[in-house]
Amino acid sequence: MTTTPTTLIETEDRRQYRATRRRDFAVDLSMALATILAALAIGFLVMLATGNDPVRAYEVMLTGPLDRSFRVGRWLEDATTLTLLGLSVAIPFRARQISLGAESQVYAGALAAATVAIFLPLPPVVAVIVPMAAAAAAGAGMGLVPGAMKARLGANEIVATLMLNAIVVRVYDYLVNGPLKESGSSAVHSKSVQQDSALTPLSDWFGVPLGRANIGFGVMLLTAVALWLLITRTPLGYRIRMTGANPDFAAYGGIRVPRVIEWSFVIGGAVAGLAGAHLVQGAYGRLEPGLAGSLAFEGIVVALLARNNPLVVVVAGLFYSYLRAGGDIMEQQTDVGTEIVVVIQAVIVLLVTAQALPNLLKRRIARRQVGVR
């Protein structure tokens, strides 16, 4: 048994190190692409095995969303919610807090936004902003509960967030079916938000029909940039990163770890609240049962795919929503069910979390290069 000694980074000079870093980055990037291709290939095989025509299905799925402008609109609208939810968990994940609470936060946000936007008459502009602020506050509050339980008491945040989800979803269901249900309507939904509270549709700006896509998309982009700045350019962001990297080290260095954990939950909750506001003031214009669907959990996937980097979350969110939108079109035009997209997404998650794979590859490349030298 022999082991090949690999070079220690510390003995490299700066040029070598940069080369290594570029190489590692290239490996990471190509691994990400390979992961997506592998997942698509698996989807291909599954479709083939179930007697469908995968070539046609992929053609529709991958070109469909750009086909007509309103489909682009659907994509952007979906991406807005999904990315915001991805961002909302990326922040606690950065502090290594496994918050699964986006669901409770997005519904709390939706309820808060709807309550203000339906019942509180406000002047224009303010009528847009106040419900959003209310939604962010409600989401933040929902984040604070498990955050404080974890930070102050050490209670398991996975269980706490799951329980809170279960509670809020049921309360939401009750409110939509009961007190907030539009009277006289046969379908179950709330009254629509006031005209002034609606987020301006993008169609008004670009002059082409873009479905329900609205300026919430811009809000999402701004939020992503703001969170990226928070993480990389502020002391709080530094504290979040160090708490995530090694909480004992953070505490030793004088960082108040419990407070940082709480902040990470609160910030994440506020962003998920915004996603709720987008659903109410933008996408649907009112409360509907099961408003957020499975987006809260898919947001987790998006965050993980992006390694919790806020800017990459946007890319991952757009990509993911593109697949979702494409899947729906595929189902309309072919016999293939849109669920294949979920399968593809799942395979991507499983491949991404298999961390040993890229490391194996990097080590192999490094070894080969050492051999060449």
Binding site: T3, P5, A245, F249, I255
Partner: protein
């Protein structure tokens, strides 16, 4: 259950064994070692000499890169502990390998449980354990949970584990590090009894007195290689020490006599009730600016607790700590740092660094919200990087770039990052705990120079170490901790020998309270 052994020959042996780790570190170099049956063989050497790695190869936890391991006279390939156990090799690890929530009996039988058809017979487990304990003289309470018994009993449990597996070779890796002298005596008696029953014992230690007391022969390791083996009867502590040490560089640090000025650290009546670990029972001492005060003691006698209390990571139960006249009561960790405390923690992997974060980020944890790094709530990555470049240069941290994650650095280099951070904060009190543990000699020398520099520029240094040589080389004054109490105070370390300090560490001798508190102001009543 044991596989057959050869008729004669050594119980265990290594032939030209070399171990090179994946990161290029060569821990063991071409070692030839033979231990005949029924012998207590001490293997001595300093930290990092390769003792533990060699033993792990005998126990199948590591595999030699080249060379072969012999057990029972035959070459063996040990793929894991299971194959070593089957050959009759048992090992008691330095950090004990017991399941905390299991009882002692359950731990003893774990892996080879009595009982039929996949069932465990708890009664038989208790009986077996009691019988083994009786026969070997290793007293335990079979029904007690492991996390509720003393360290000494846990260690006896480990030995019983090996006996239950019918071990013929027993490896004890620094077994006395955590024991009281009485417990050590009992352990030695039991080990001798085992030897007389035919057991081969490998006894790892760096305490020469113990080695002389217990072993038949001594093998000395240095820097991964076997220096030699001599009969214990022929060995003196001096001869062993010269074989063990023989460093390339002399440990004598160039240092002028200290010029202590005002008192920087004042500790009075410090008590700490530890939920787990060692409590502190009323400590009184001062450290002045411009002196290095060493804290000696066998590990686990309260050093860690003392360091963490002074750094603000734990709160004392009663007593006061003043830094430059500031009472630290009620201050958080950041407050302690503002009051002027720098702390090099004993376990850099645990809380000294964030391994996956960059060197640059690791260097600013205590100052990331202050200018020049952050202004008006904005952190400037450029400033963080420049700060890192400067410290990398000043402290000769070997790295191609400040963005390298700390995990990629070797032990000594990693420690330099920590020392650079703590010293660049210009603390009025530096607590340096096990500052040279696991670092190479070059880095060791570097640390020593920096500590003396810090002292000469007016810092008070509290040096906590398990390495007596290091303490005697660096300390201007020396304190000895035992069972959470100060038991000795040497205001002049010139001419002080390791042996003499050892007597206090082991509790054979003790200074009276008058001597311990000489010259201290405002000392409270006698500590019981």
């Amino acid at each position: 259950m044991n596989e057959p052994w050869g008729e004669d020959g050594p119980a265990v042996a290594a032939r030209q064994v070399t171990k090179t780790y994946a990161n290029g570190v060569r821990a063991v170099r071409a070692v030839d070692l033979e231990v005949p049956p029924g012998e207590i063989r001490a293997v001595v050497g300093e930290n990092g000499a390769g003792k533990s790695t060699l033993m792990k190869m005998f126990y199948g936890l590591e595999q030699p890169s080249t060379g072969e391991i012999l057990v029972g006279g035959r070459p063996r390939v040990l793929r894991g502990p299971a194959s070593a156990i089957a050959l009759g090799v048992g090992m008691v690890h330095q950090n004990l390998m017991l399941v905390p929530s299991f009882t002692i009996a359950q731990n003893v039988v774990l892996g080879v449980e009595p009982g039929r058809r996949g069932l465990v017979d708890p009664k038989a487990a208790v009986e077996t354990t009691a019988r083994l304990a009786e026969e070997s003289g290793l007293t335990v309470d079979p029904k007690a949970r492991v996390d509720e018994v003393s360290v000494g009993m846990r260690q006896r449990t480990e030995i019983l584990k090996a006996l239950h597996r019918q071990a013929r070779v027993l490896i004890l890796d620094e077994p006395t590090a955590v024991l009281t002298p009485q417990e050590s005596e009992d352990l030695f008696a039991a080990v001798r009894r085992l030897r007389d029953g035919g057991m081969t014992v490998l006894f790892i230690s760096h305490k020469l007195r113990e080695v002389r007391e217990i072993s038949d022969q001594v093998s000395v390791m240095r820097a991964g290689a076997l220096v030699g083996t001599i009969a214990t009867a022929d060995a003196t502590e001096r001869s062993l020490a010269s074989m063990m040490v023989g460093r390339d560089m002399s440990l004598d640090v160039d240092r002028t006599p200290a010029r202590p000025t005002d008192t920087t650290l004042r500790v009075r009546g410090l008590r700490y009730e530890a939920p787990t670990g060692q409590s502190l029972h009323g400590l009184d001492f001062d450290v002045a600016a411009g002196e290095i005060v060493g804290v000696a003691g066998i590990e686990g006698n309260g050093q860690s607790e003392l360091a963490e209390i002074l750094a603000g990571l734990r709160r004392p139960t009663t007593g006061t700590v003043h830094i430059d006249g500031t009472d630290t009561a009620g201050l958080d960790v950041a407050g302690h740092r503002r009051a002027g405390i720098g702390y090099v923690p004993e376990d850099r992997l645990h809380n000294g660094a964030a391994l996956d974060a960059s060197i640059a980020d690791n260097l600013v944890v205590d100052r990331h919200e202050r200018p020049p790094l952050a202004r008006h709530g904005v952190l400037h990555p450029g400033a963080v990087r420049a700060h890192a470049e400067q410290l990398i240069d000043q402290y000769a941290i070997r790295t191609p770039d400040p963005s390298v994650p700390v995990r990629a650095l070797s032990g000594g280099n990693m420690q330099k990052v920590i020392v650079a951070r703590e010293l660049s904060a210009q603390p009025s009190l530096l607590i340096a705990s096990q500052v040279t543990r696991g670092v190479d000699i070059g880095a060791m020398r570097f640390m020593y120079e920096r500590l003396v520099d810090a002292r000469d520029t007016g810092a008070a240094v509290l040096l906590i170490s398990a390495d007596l040589t290091e303490l005697l080389a660096l300390s201007d004054r020396l304190l000895v901790l035992k069972d959470g109490r100060l038991v000795a105070r040497f205001d002049d370390t010139t001419g002080l020998t390791e042996k003499r300090v050892g007597l206090y560490m082991l509790g054979v001798e003790e200074h009276d309270r008058g001597r311990l508190t000489t010259g201290l102001e405002n000392v409270g009543e006698e500590a019981p």
